[in-house]
Symmetry: none
Subunit: 194 residues, 4 copies
DNA sequence: TATGAATGAGGGTTCATTCAT
DNA sequence: AATGAATGAACCCTCATTCAT
């Protein structure tokens, strides 16, 4: 992909993220994205097959980035404890820096349209898998105590997700940064980290 | 409200729950709800102001029920520990018995349209408040240890929510009943319940 | 089909015939048909699947009528000579009374879109078949001399078609009625009718 | 017009003939013609004013050729009989060798858009005129008997046109060459050629 | 001259809502 | 109260045409 093409592609995704965050996928017209991206309506369709493809691309592109960042953040960690804390911090940091993406994630993660769901579920499942890997390794190394890895992941992810849900829906949210420690403290107790 | 009127009102809400669960709010046409409810399209508008009103009513009616059931389930409980377990069990039981409602909750809880969000948030906030009350009381009675009640509630609700999210999106889910103990065990650790 | 439904169906087909005749299938907007029929745009779609379906229905309905009329006109004829003359007269008469249909036939008979062609070709083929039947019978009864029935039909139909083509494209056409005898005289010579 | 310019002009017309034949004027996108001609979309507009101009040019250029060829083929003919046979043979031969042009002629000859019709009708009218000249001369020289020259032309042209219509729409057509004699035999009878 | 990315007007179709019966 | 045919506003997408390079 050539430089200017890639730039415009990203510009449209950026615009879509903002627009979807503000209006939601269905309520948001393609023309709104175009205007926000500073291109003509038709230009959108030079880069994306249709409206749905914008959403799907948005997820695979942005969530892909997110997961990669999470992954990078834990390579240097020595212990499960560190890894879990790293994920919490990176997750919060990323979402805090990408508020619109956070909103879109919150809103559209649970689309009903089966086609969209399927397309979207990929990156999310990858994230779930990553968390479960960390937990499994922790159990094996006896760094944490956990009867069921899947339920453990549900708690871990569910907690972060609920925190972000509160954060995006609040007009004056306290910074997510401020609750990293609190969240981690709960996880420490739940996973019986020494 | 007269008897037959109430009956048809509920029939439409039932139909809407099914239809929204299957197609999602936006993708689902009002005519589909009407057909499912066994009434004419126009009849819908004798009971609801518009499509949005169906969704909002669905939430306040069904979520209202849900919260009432939760409330009833914990009145007999003596300890915070018992209360938390009761909520988990009742939450899971209710959703398991009302799969479509569970799906709608998952899908539409996070609507983007501000009007819808606002309308929906009422019952949910009530539930959040209930959980926080239980946690606050637990802290006061020193039955649990918790640095921040809001974060505690985020973890508690987020975990249940994530579990149900997995459950509704799985073709062959293990029964929620089966993970009550697992979830509670994690909560016990997190809240340092003796 | 109930009475008013049938009436509106025909009204839309009438409007479509006028509109297609004036603007051509592609250039004519559905909204133009709707306005001409005195209905809302959306109403069209209660009676027809889509724009293409209007054209196809127009042909099967109107051409069906036409062929039926041709068929009826020749039942009383005794000889091939009479039958051929009857077809000429009825063909001209029908088209003269349904100028817009004549135009549409001229214009759209030869659509390129394969789907449309196929749908349209049915009634036309039926007409061709009818003509060929008459010619075949004539040959068998030795009322006409004709080396190849298909070519005979091509001449017969082609002549009528070209005459109508001139007629519809002329601002001040001489009535088709006036050339019945002339056309028949040519056919008589071509088919060596005694 | 310079040499390479003329070449590209013809290449575009060739491509347009193919493309219009396959998809029809309206269904065929300009970009398809460009791709087929091996030029960029924008290049088309260096040679033609717009899409319509391509069609019009196609007709005046190709039909001009056609008529010229017809004209040349009859100069050496001595009798009306020979001339008519020559036209039939040349007409069929030309169309057989230019199948796409034959299709376009069939399809687009009867465009509805008045502007297009007008532009197209020129070459066609010229052909009609040529045929009528031959017929008129034949009548004057008493080589044929014909009450109305215009109707005679309608029959003559209509027959050829219908034959070609069958030929282009048939998957496995018998060669037009094979029906020259058959068609001429019918004309001979119609025109009472001795 | 040639390119092809960008434009944006336009139209077919859907569907929430109304209203005559 | 109930119906469901009719409405028409709204929107996604296409594609002829332009223009900066």
């Amino acid at each position: 992909m050539s430089k200017p093409r890639e730039e415009k592609y990203q510009a449209i995704l950026d615009a879509a993220t903002e627009a979807f965050a503000e209006y939601g996928y269905f309520t948001c017209q393609v023309s709104k994205i175009a205007k926000l991206a500073g291109v003509a309506d038709g230009t959108i369709y030079l880069y994306f097959k249709n409206k749905e493809d914008i959403l799907v691309s948005l997820f695979s592109d942005r969530m892909g980035n997110f997961i990669q960042e999470i992954r990078q953040s834990i390579v240097k960690c020595q212990t499960t404890q560190e890894r879990l804390f790293c994920i919490i911090r990176t997750h919060f940091k990323y979402m805090e820096e990408n508020r619109s993406l956070a909103i879109v994630t919150q809103i559209e993660l649970r689309q009903s349209d089966p086609k969209i769901r399927e397309a979207i579920s990929g990156p999310l499942r990858e994230y779930f898998h990553l968390i479960e890997q960390v937990l499994t390794e922790g159990v094996e190394k006896q760094e944490i105590i956990l009867a069921d890895v899947k339920v453990g992941r549900q708690m871990f992810f569910g907690t972060l997700d609920a925190a972000i849900s509160d954060w995006v829906s609040s007009k004056k949210p306290r910074p997510l940064e401020g609750i990293e420690e609190l969240v981690f403290e709960l996880m420490r107790g739940a996973f019986k980290i020494k």
